[in-house]
């Protein structure tokens, strides 16, 4: 067995980025993701990379934009209120077709909200990470090991599809420690013929501005063709005891672990519960979910929010299953026991 390390989710994300060849990190302190900044400020100088503490999350995403425009693997991270500030830069990066990885260690909102784990940025991440017609890749790891692995996947996918990728986790995953075995290195950065400062014979420009509507429409259509390719290839999920389940819990990230514990407890009591866990939120694994839900007939969406993913679940499931919802919000993490009660009530 290769060496295992005990790491916080936040540290795993940071070390994975370093291993992935990211040498440009721009951040701003905010609980509960600050360990990423602390780790990078220590680690980047050791590998000849750049850690820069920006004056704001807005500046941090724009520094990321600048570094990415030169072809560098660049990353920024924050937590919910700070991510809201990054939406400007995210939109410009989408408009400029620039890749990067953005980490969101979610906390309770709206406003300053709280600092405890939350999943209330689902809409922000999957629906409107910025203004305009755009998409962002959204990955939802559920373990510290996955936090690590997903950074590799996210960098590669962001470069392949030339768009920002978000690693959407929460305070629980960011703060907890679990064993991590570093996986095989990710593919090397892809060739970036569009990058500035490459010294190519022809001058290059990167801009998101198109004053002629037809021209902008054309650019967006081409971009959406790329999005739809990402949609068919990237959606991922994991099922746990879903095959013969009569009630299918649907949860992502930290909540999926609570749901998993509830499923195990339900099975011990003889109830046929199962779990469907989207590993990507955009693209959402709708085909896979539809198939699993149709078998179960009953679906219970569990989130640390007032119910945001539930709309995607309803869209995916259609009329093949009844969809219920259970959520805790404001930083309250649902307990397996209360979830078990809901499952028992459904059976």
């Amino acid at each position: 067995m290769s060496k295992r390390y005990l790491m916080k989710g936040n540290e795993a994300v940071a070390e994975a980025a370093v291993m992935a060849g990211c040498r440009h990190f721009f951040g701003y302190p905010i609980t509960p993701q600050t360990e990423i900044n602390a780790y990078m400020s220590k680690r980047m100088p050791q590998v000849g990379g750049i850690y820069l503490q920006a004056e704001s999350e807005i500046a941090a995403i724009n520094m990321t934009l600048g570094a990415s425009a030169t072809g560098a693997r660049a990353m920024t991270s924050s937590s919910s209120p700070g991510i809201a500030l990054k939406t400007e830069g995210i939109s410009y990066m989408c408009g400029c077709d620039l890749p990067c990885v953005i980490v969101n260690i979610q906390r309770g909102g709206p406003g300053l909200g709280g600092i405890q784990p939350s999943q209330a940025d689902y809409y922000l991440a999957t629906r409107a990470p910025g203004h305009g017609d755009l998409r962002m890749l959204v990955f939802a790891p559920a373990t510290v090991q996955e936090m690590f692995d997903t950074v590799f996947t996210a960098f590669d996918a962001a470069e392949l599809y030339r768009m920002p990728a978000m690693l959407l986790a929460d305070g629980l995953l960011g703060q907890m420690m679990e064993p991590v075995t570093p996986p095989a290195l990710p593919p090397a950065p892809r060739e970036k013929l569009w990058a500035l400062g490459a010294g190519a014979p022809k001058r290059k420009t990167i801009s998101s501005l198109y004053l002629k509507p037809e021209e902008l429409e054309e650019v967006i259509r081409l971009r959406f063709a790329r999005y739809s390719e990402a949609e068919t290839r990237l959606s991922a999920c994991e099922e746990y005891l879903a095959e013969d389940a009569r009630v299918l819990l649907v949860a992502y990230g930290a909540t999926s672990r609570i749901a998993r514990a509830a499923v195990t407890a339900a099975r011990e009591k003889g109830h046929k519960a199962g779990l469907f866990r989207p590993k990507t939120l955009w693209p959402f694994p709708k085909e896979q979910l539809r198939a699993a839900a149709a078998k179960a007939g009953k679906v219970l969406v569990v989130e640390m929010s007032m119910g945001q993913m539930v709309s995607d679940v309803r869209l995916a499931v259609g009329d093949t299953a009844a969809v219920g919802f259970f959520g805790r919000t404001g930083g309250v993490v649902p307990l397996p026991e209360e979830l078990l009660e809901r499952v028992e009530a459904l059976i």
């Binding site: 520094m63 500035l196 400062g197 010294g199 420009t205 801009s207």
Partner: protein
């Protein structure tokens, strides 16, 4: 005999500026400075939001168009990733001194090794002439129709003076493009700023007092007189920092 040639630092794209606007002069000065010091080949420019948003079409080097006010942050990212390149931003007063205040102050405070060309014409041009952070007291604009009232709209920001209080910047100068002599002076200042960057000395900024005949409602000639008069009086040209 060739007496005058267009700078190779500019593309053949026709400039989109209004007649009489001094952006054209400033573009030429920056382009000539890049060519003169043989820096064009390794230059990466950052265009702002505002009248000069299309600067990415005009400068004959790699160019990036930044979100409003964020050019110094974007340039920071570029420079950190490509330290051997010459990275400049070209920003107006609304972009730099209003929405982008945090970014310019902190890029300066970090001594970020970039060059900023800051074009101050005391008004938002592209959106049609609204009050800017540099609009003079009493100046009539679309959003200060009774003249800028400092009691409610506050005072203009003197960017050079403000940034010169910081330890980070290496070179800060304010110039004007109101007459041939001053245009030459402005060109020299921009060339010097780029040289500072090339020598690794740190943050350099040249504020260029500029005109906006269209939104000022003046002829180009009257505009230059306003520039020499009340504008230069409120924003005195000179070197504010030189390490």
């Amino acid at each position: 005999m060739i007496v005058y040639e267009k700078s190779k630092g500019l593309t053949d794209t026709p400039l989109s500026y209004c007649p009489g606007c001094t952006h054209g002069i400033i573009h030429k000065l920056l382009a000539e400075a890049l060519c003169g010091a043989n820096l064009l080949g390794r230059a990466i420019g950052v265009a702002p939001v505002g009248c000069s948003v299309f600067a990415y079409n005009f400068f004959n080097c790699d160019m990036l168009q930044a979100p409003h006010g964020r050019a110094p942050a974007v340039a920071t990212g570029i420079k950190r990733a490509k330290p051997e390149h010459i990275v400049f931003t070209y920003q107006g007063d609304g972009d730099l001194a209003a929405i982008g205040t945090a970014e310019i102050v902190h890029a300066a405070a970090r001594g970020e090794n970039i060059t900023v060309v800051f074009v101050n014409n005391t008004i938002y041009g592209m959106t049609g002439g609204q009050m800017a952070p540099t609009t003079l007291p009493g100046q009539v604009t679309q959003t200060s129709p009774y003249g800028r009232d400092v009691k409610t709209a506050g005072y203009p920001i003197r960017v050079c003076e403000m940034l010169a209080t910081l330890d980070g910047p290496a070179y800060i100068e304010r110039v004007a493009v109101d007459c041939v002599k001053n245009v030459k002076k402005a060109g020299a200042a921009i060339a010097k700023a780029l040289r500072y960057q090339a020598d690794g000395k740190g943050f350099s900024l040249v504020e260029v007092l500029s005109t906006c005949p269209t939104n000022w409602g003046l002829t180009p000639a009257e505009s230059l007189r306003r520039l020499s008069g009340e504008m230069a009086a409120y924003f005195p040209p000179g070197v504010y920092k030189e390490l």
